[in-house]
Symmetry: C2
Subunit: 218 residues, 2 copies
């Protein structure tokens, strides 16, 4: 199956399979069945087999999957087998916390630059090791080009998010993770994933209200 | 339409409509057409009318919607017309940043408690105003009960997330926003929304790879 024909939920589950397989590898497990892998993620074994079949055959009947091989294969499919450089724009509280978020590094992402327009923030250290300081937006394009950066994280207020996105795209970034509470307009060859934390909490809150009302209308 | 029959994408868009309407209200706009509201969010006017029709008629033909009335109505539907108390567990870097994240307050959420098991973190100030300090997990159940808390944010490592979820649910929390990179098992009357930031960035990265390959297989 062509990667662009793989359903989005399958791609999302690949990330979850990989996390699980890596945990199994650390635990010294060498083979895993689709049933075991599914049980760990609350999925049926049929779903697991179907998802992995999108990318060719990996398992052996009666034995299952070799954990290390399957992990390596999923990593390759996801592009997680090579380090991918990332820049982050907006070094406020959330941006600074994300700059230190270990989860990105564990997935093979490498944060190579943090940028802000605010002179008070430029020069400030935002890494645990002290090797990442906030830089001026004037340095953004050069960094993206020199470090071959394709991914950008936007943590600025809604009012400046589109301008920041435009600069990232102009510099050559092709994928954006947008924490600003506003939609972004980008060219067709650029992917945007919006993360609006307040909206997500509002959705949970709405569902809690629905369930509390026993599913009855207002 | 019963609230539990409203499609999830519609609920998600309600949050976006509300954000837009509030911005219009601040800008002094009194009426808005479905076309204007849609254009601001990259939606068709038909989509806007269909979404809002799920909850009854609001607009007047030829005039459109009264901004203040529609905002108030959407706020009521979302339950955002009354303050909703929230607790947060896990006062590491991400948890501390989320405790200070203004977006939740802007949506009418009120963070009433931040909890951690680590004695080094207990007592530490995590609010801009200095009126929110990290408390021991021993105080969690009493706070949830006293403050009538129905929503919890989990920012602990994957290894302890299920135990934290169990304690929140036992205390009476009905909706969870889970930042730990692991699925949670909860009773049927509890809603969980998982926010795995590293997985989301991995999804963006995968799409960038797909688009770069011109949609061709590996």
């Amino acid at each position: 199956m062509r990667p662009d024909a793989v359903p989005a939920p399958t791609v999302r589950r690949l990330s979850l399979y990989l996390r699980q397989l890596e945990a199994m590898q650390e635990g010294g497990k060498s083979t895993v069945s689709s049933r075991e892998l599914g049980a760990a993620l609350d999925l049926t074994d049929a779903q697991v087999r179907k998802d992995l079949a999108c990318f060719g055959q990996f398992g052996q009947p009666g034995i299952g999957y070799r954990v290390a091989d399957l992990a390596a294969r999923v990593r390759t499919i996801l592009g997680a087998d090579k380090p991918r450089n990332v820049v982050l724009v907006g070094a406020g509280r959330l941006g600074s916390a994300l700059a230190r978020y270990e989860g990105f590094g564990e997935k093979g992402f490498r944060l190579v630059g943090v940028f802000d327009e605010d002179p008070d923030r430029i020069g400030r250290d935002v890494s645990p090791g002290g090797d990442l300081v906030v830089r001026s937006m004037d340095d953004l394009a050069a960094m993206v080009s020199e470090q071959n950066v394709r991914l950008g994280i936007i943590c600025v207020p809604a009012s400046t998010a589109q301008a920041v996105a435009d600069r990232l795209v102009a510099a050559g970034v092709k994928g954006l993770m947008n924490f600003a509470p506003t939609p972004l307009k980008v060219p067709a060859d650029v992917t945007v994933s919006g993360v609006d934390l307040a909206v997500q909490l509002e959705q949970v809150s709405f569902q809690v209200g629905v369930l509390a009302a026993g599913g009855e209308g207002p």
